[in-house]
């Protein structure tokens, strides 16, 4: 078989990406048709930057989905090595020399092979799954923590605020890499520290939701008990499973390796969210509708969660997008220093540093694809944030 030409590689790649590309196109078509009825999301389609951003983000979301859930997109097993394919150039025909031949394997290594003879293209695709699993969820958790602490800090002020702000600044003054080097090591998994941190950080979503329902339905006991009850039961169950690996039913668990990474990323992001939320709360609490809520005797948590928080959603949404991007960068950084992952797994940061060593040997195809993949995803998120910011400012 002949090696593919660059145009051949391109066509083949488009073919492999067909499913996510079609999904993006369909999403866009539907959204544009109904854009006037979709609120802020619909307005995104008035901004070129926002649309580009959304397209890039959706592309990677769908790629991760199709690759992770349906095992599509990739051409080879990302962990499968082939002695013949070491440092193979893009488009080279696939030959299998070690281990069991992969029956589904494609004919070529579209982006060549890495230094162990694994398919770069499939590894890049596979790397998106991990990013999509961790980055958005870690960001959500960071927001839950930041909001639960930032709202009262801004609303009450005083000593509580002083202490929390001091702690937040403490974490922020830490160089992130130092923190990662201290937290995400194989040794630390032997101690209780990651569990304790997870146990603390993962409590916040439960607290957040419980308080949310309780303050909203304080006057209607039946509804309140229902909502709070559901939250507590489901929350405790998931919490035990994830944080303490002690799910009584044994359904929910979290690989300890990922847990450390996840917890560290939440820990690094939460203080910044805290500061943003605190600032917003300080601003919004002076509004008359907050005074109106106070004068009808609303509790502080109702005011914080139902009067202040919804009106802070614009800036928070923008920051949410940016922060997912930042988290993606952090995950890459972790990979870059080889922290917190199995040595084999496909990780963009790890692939970049591996490929870096071969750049001086003029082998570019190993480092460049993951670099571009990470770049396009983060760029998409930043563009999306910018589009959202611009459109939400417009009304």
């Amino acid at each position: 078989m002949d090696p593919l030409s660059w145009s051949g590689i391109f066509l083949q790649m488009v073919q492999q990406f067909a499913a996510p590309l079609i999904a993006v196109a369909v999403t866009f078509a539907i959204s544009i048709v109904f854009k006037r009825r979709l609120g802020l999301y619909g307005k995104l389609f008035d901004s070129v930057i926002g649309m580009i951003g959304l397209a890039l983000v959706l592309f990677w979301v769908f790629t991760a989905f199709f690759a992770g859930a349906l095992d599509m997109v990739g051409t080879h097993d990302p962990l499968d090595q082939s002695a013949m394919m070491k440092k193979a150039l893009p488009g080279e025909p696939y030959t299998k020399l070690i281990g069991e031949p992969d029956p589904d394997a494609g004919a070529h290594y579209l982006l060549g092979g890495d230094n162990l003879g694994r398919d770069v293209f499939s590894r890049v695709v596979d790397g998106s799954i991990k990013v999509m699993l961790i980055a958005p969820f870690a960001t959500i958790f960071a927001f839950m923590v930041g909001i639960t602490l930032g709202l009262p800090a801004g609303y009450y002020g005083g000593r509580f605020d002083t202490v929390l702000s001091f702690l937040a600044n403490l974490v922020l003054a830490f160089p992130v890499i130092l923190l990662f080097y201290l937290l995400v090591t194989p040794e630390i998994k032997e101690t209780l520290i990651p569990r304790i941190m997870a146990g603390t950080l993962f409590l916040f979503p439960i607290v957040f939701l419980t308080v949310l329902w309780n303050s909203r339905f304080r006057t209607q006991a039946a509804k309140r008990n229902l909502y709070v009850g559901i939250t507590l039961v489901v929350g405790t169950w998931v919490y035990l499973g994830i944080a303490w690996d002690a799910d009584p039913t044994g359904i929910i668990s979290f690989p300890p390796n990922l847990l450390v990474v996840f917890v560290s990323v939440v820990f690094v992001n939460a203080p910044t969210v805290f500061r943003i939320v605190r600032g917003l709360a300080l601003d919004i609490k002076t509004r008359d509708y907050v005074a109106a809520a106070q004068t009808r005797g609303e509790g502080p948590w109702y005011i914080m969660l139902w009067e202040i928080l919804p009106n802070a959603r614009g800036p928070l949404l923008v920051d949410f997008c940016l922060r997912i991007g930042y988290t993606t960068i952090l995950l890459g950084t972790l990979g870059f220093f080889g922290l917190g992952l199995e040595s084999e797994s496909a990780d963009w940061g790890k692939m970049i540093i591996d490929g870096r060593r071969l750049l001086s040997a003029n082998i570019l195809h190993i480092a460049i694809p993951p670099a571009l993949a990470l770049l396009s995803l983060v760029l998409g998120l930043n563009f999306l944030a910018d589009g959202l910011r611009e459109e939400s400012l417009r009304d």
Binding site: I49, F166, N169, L170, L172, A173, F174, P175, V176, I177, L178, Y181, L182, L183, T185, E187, I188, E190, T191, I193, G325, I329, G332, T333, F336, F337, G349, I352, I353, G355, R356, L359, S360, N362, I363, L364, A367, I368, A371, L374, L375, V378, L379, L381, N382, F383, D386
Partner: protein, 348 residues
């Protein structure tokens, strides 16, 4: 003003104490100590051997005591080891234990000894800091002016073509972490595959002799990531100032556009970015670590990776103290500078 600085310095010291303690605590976790013992001794040490090694060297004291000794507020340990030999923290190899001073912590100027580099920590840090300082200096020199120019040009006429182009560019750079841009730069400008070969792909030679060829890429790599952020802050601040009422007043006074930008808008627009630039330092430190690894420049960041990767406890502590102090000092400068830049805050 004096009271303000005093308060800030107080908070700063407290922060530094807290942070170093956290680092101390984490590096002194038993699994870390065990690993260190094995690297110092040999990999096949039994658990009992590890324990006696750690005990003999004072590692098994309570963590607060150890921290106090490291700081120099508690007297250094004197321990009779399981092997019958008496060891003291403060005794150098050629000094008899009786003559050794009681205290030998950071406060006495004793930063400890790097197991990995076989040198005193303060010596290592001094040397590495000088190298990294050089890198930072050039980064700042490239990053700050270009970011400010980008931001001011973009924010001066919000919504114009120039604004859109420059803003998109700055968003692009904030989305490019150092390990991505560094790899791309090396691939494009330093490898013979593309064929430009303008610069060198490593900066090792820059440690002795800085040239444009061997130093520009690392500097650019750090600068690019930070630049976009500062530029966007400057743009936002500039755009806000340009729509403010006093700029309209100036325009309707008949002031020409260049004069509006230079005389009326600039100072107001630069207040916010100044803080941002100063608060960039923790970020820049990240960049330094990545870039020094990427370009094999053996500076401060490289030492951090080395120390952390090998659990070189005393070196790691020294490095974290220095980096934390750098961060806190810049925060202090940013606060004071803000007060001076902004006439609306009276200092008296």
């Amino acid at each position: 003003m004096g009271r303000f600085i005093l308060r800030r310095v107080g908070v700063m010291l407290l922060t530094a104490l807290c942070l170093t303690f956290i680092v101390f605590f984490l590096t002194n976790l038993y699994p870390n100590l065990e690993k260190m013992a094995k690297t110092e001794g040999n990999m096949r040490m039994s658990d009992a051997e590890v324990e006696s090694y750690l005990n003999n060297n004072g590692y098994l004291q309570p963590v607060l005591v150890k921290y106090g000794q490291w700081l120099g507020v508690l007297p250094g340990y004197v321990i009779e080891g399981t092997d019958g030999k008496v060891r003291a923290k403060c005794a150098a190899s050629d000094v008899p234990i009786e003559e050794a001073p009681a205290f030998c912590g950071v406060l006495q100027g004793n930063w400890g000894y790097s197991n990995r580099l076989k040198k005193d920590v303060d010596e290592v840090i001094g040397e590495k800091l000088a190298l990294t300082g050089m890198l930072m200096f050039w980064v700042m020199l490239l990053m700050v002016p270009s970011a400010l120019i980008l931001g001011v040009l973009a924010g001066m006429r919000e919504g114009s073509k120039l604004d859109r182009t420059l803003s998109t560019f700055s968003i692009g750079t904030t989305a490019t972490p150092e390990y991505v841009s560094g790899v791309l730069f090396i691939a494009v400008f330093a490898s013979s595959a593309v064929g430009l070969k303008w610069f060198k792909g490593t900066a090792t030679s820059a440690m002795d002799n800085i040239t444009f060829e061997n130093f520009f890429l690392p500097v650019l790599t750090i600068a690019v990531y930070g630049m976009g952020y500062i530029a966007r802050m400057t743009r936002a601040s500039m755009a806000e100032v340009m729509t403010s009422q006093y700029i309209r007043t100036a325009r309707l006074k008949g002031v020409s556009f260049p004069n509006i930008v230079m005389k009326h808008a600039l100072r107001n627009a630069l207040i916010a970015p100044f803080t941002v630039i100063m608060l960039q330092f923790p970020w820049l430190l990240n960049g330094v670590v990545i870039v020094e690894t990427l370009f094999n420049y053996k500076g401060f960041g490289w030492a951090l990776v080395l120390a952390a990767g090998n659990n070189d406890i005393e070196l790691l502590l020294g490095i974290s103290v220095v980096s934390v102090v750098v961060v806190l000092v810049t925060q202090l400068i940013s606060d004071i500078g803000y007060v001076y830049l902004n006439p609306r805050i009276s200092v008296s």
